[in-house]
């Protein structure tokens, strides 16, 4: 048995994508955990910010919503949505966004709107929020997913947020000048996207997870030829996550 949870492995795996100087667009839940952990472990000079306009808060307690009062304290700037989204897309900045979704396809396009018919859905979700915007503008998007066949689908019920669209050059041809899906971090593995075809492939499977299990739980064929085992979180990683990032265990 691993001495860490799925959420811990996911937060650390995602956090590894953040580099010093990155401007990190964080949502709530896992995304908040990953961003905060990344800043404390890998990239102390990364800046965490929120679509609500809070830039680089001190985060002495973990926020549970992007509008949480905890994203307003100790910031360098308290602004609003227009400011925040203009930062996500700012050509001078390297911005990394963490998102979640109900469905994802092989090109990393996301659905956070509906399952079933748009007008009379089987299940209605919250909607785009800032996800469509961030997917259009950020330098790279990392998506958290529960790894289930019904979530990794051939065709989305609704394409809320554009990843690599139809693959190849199709994202650029839409007029989206940068960005695209960087990685998908699930409870089983980390997926990345082929440089040319922009199709999802298995990059890293977590210790104890078989490649077969991942293939079985993915609703479209997936290249596993480049897969290797992921590095587990270190004891120090886990200490930071548990003691500094989320001592109240609100998300972990």
């Amino acid at each position: 048995m691993a001495n860490y949870t799925d959420n811990e492995m996911m937060a650390i795996s995602a956090g590894r994508f953040v580099k010093n100087g990155d401007i990190v667009f964080a949502g709530t839940g896992l995304s908040m955990l990953a961003a905060t952990a990344a800043k404390r472990i890998y990239a102390p000079k990364a800046v965490i910010f929120f679509e609500t306009g809070g830039i680089d808060p001190s985060l002495e307690e973990i926020p549970m919503a992007v509008s949480d009062l905890r994203v307003m304290y100790g910031t360098c700037l308290n602004s609003g949505l227009i400011e925040a989204f203009s930062i996500v897309g700012h050509r001078r900045l390297h911005t990394i966004a963490f998102l979640g979704a109900a469905q994802i396809d092989r090109y990393g396009n996301l659905n956070t709107t509906v399952i079933g018919d748009y007008w009379r859905p089987k299940t209605r979700f919250s909607g785009s929020g800032g996800a469509c915007d961030v997917s259009a503008f950020a330098s790279g998007v990392i998506t958290f997913m529960q790894h289930e066949k019904r979530r990794f689908v051939e065709k989305l019920d609704y394409l809320t947020s554009v990843g690599w669209y139809e693959g190849g050059e199709s994202r650029r041809n839409l007029g989206l000048q940068r960005g695209g899906a960087l990685a998908v971090v699930t409870n089983l593995c980390v997926m990345r996207f082929d440089e040319t075809t922009k199709e999802m492939y298995l990059a890293e499977y977590y210790p104890g997870i078989t490649v077969d299990k991942i293939v079985e739980n993915t609703g479209f064929p997936i290249d596993v030829s480049r897969a290797r085992e992921a590095e587990p979180p270190s004891a120090e990683d886990l200490r930071i996550l548990r003691e500094e990032v989320d001592p109240q265990r609100l998300i972990l």
Partner: protein
Amino acid sequence: MNNYPEIADKVMSVEEAVKRFIKDGSQIALGGFTVVRNPMAVAYEVIRQGIKDIHLVCHSHGQALDVLIGAGCVKRLEIAYGGNGRYAPTCIRFKKAIQRGEIQFEDYSNYQMSLRFLAGALGIPFIPTKSGLGSDLLNYEGFPKELRGQRKVAPKKFSLMQNPFSEQDDKVVLLPALNPDIALVHAQYVGEDGTVRIKGLTFADIEQAKSADAVIVTCEEIVPRSFIRLDPDQNTLPPFFVDAIVKVPYGAHPTGCYTFYDYDPKHLNLYKKVANDDGLFKEYLDEWVYGVSSYDEYLNKVGSESLMKIKANPVLGYAVGLDRK
């Protein structure tokens, strides 16, 4: 109530503000964002006055949105996100209303909605963006065709155009401006002169207020002119955009208000439970909205124990160590 000669014509009760400015069919922009600075006192009063057929225009909203939908006040919705933090990743009555086909809705994104309010505030008919290209936001229109161009409904959801300043193929999405009938703002401070000051994040409250035909501001405190005018760099709205000023301490409860109080986990968990059940939800409205004749009475029901728990540390702005599970 009228110890404020400069704003004597604007200071009023929440009953009067709603009666004067909100009608059946009004298009309304809610201030705040998911669990923060929702205009709850006004939302409850709208429900009590039985106002119907509201057209809400929202970026990301939570509690006020959900309770208004749940009470049957909303006919039509333009929205980017209906969620209430961890208490409801998707707002529950919002979800049910859409799944049951009870309301008309149209999806946009947060930036798109904010830009639409900005365009309305600037008095320009539309604003361009690249957000939405390739997304089903541009493939599905939520509203039926016959609604287009009716009153405050835009004649088109959006318009695509070639950037006239580029010789390459360069598509841009034009979004129609929003000019709602009314914007609701819950602020920390209003000056005796009518100036509004929001502390902490402003979300899209400023753009919404400036885009609207009328603005109701509820506030935690009315403060001296000498205070609000001493550092005007911090102020949010000039007096001439404000039509009604209502002093309602804790007027955003159960959502939070930076430097005054946190969101109320106990109440939001209660809401989560009742919202999932039609019968319980009806009882909740009877008890917390219809059965309450004043905001003081509402706060009495919340109880001093809860109020003390969510009281914010005025420096940090939130309630330190609050049990938020």
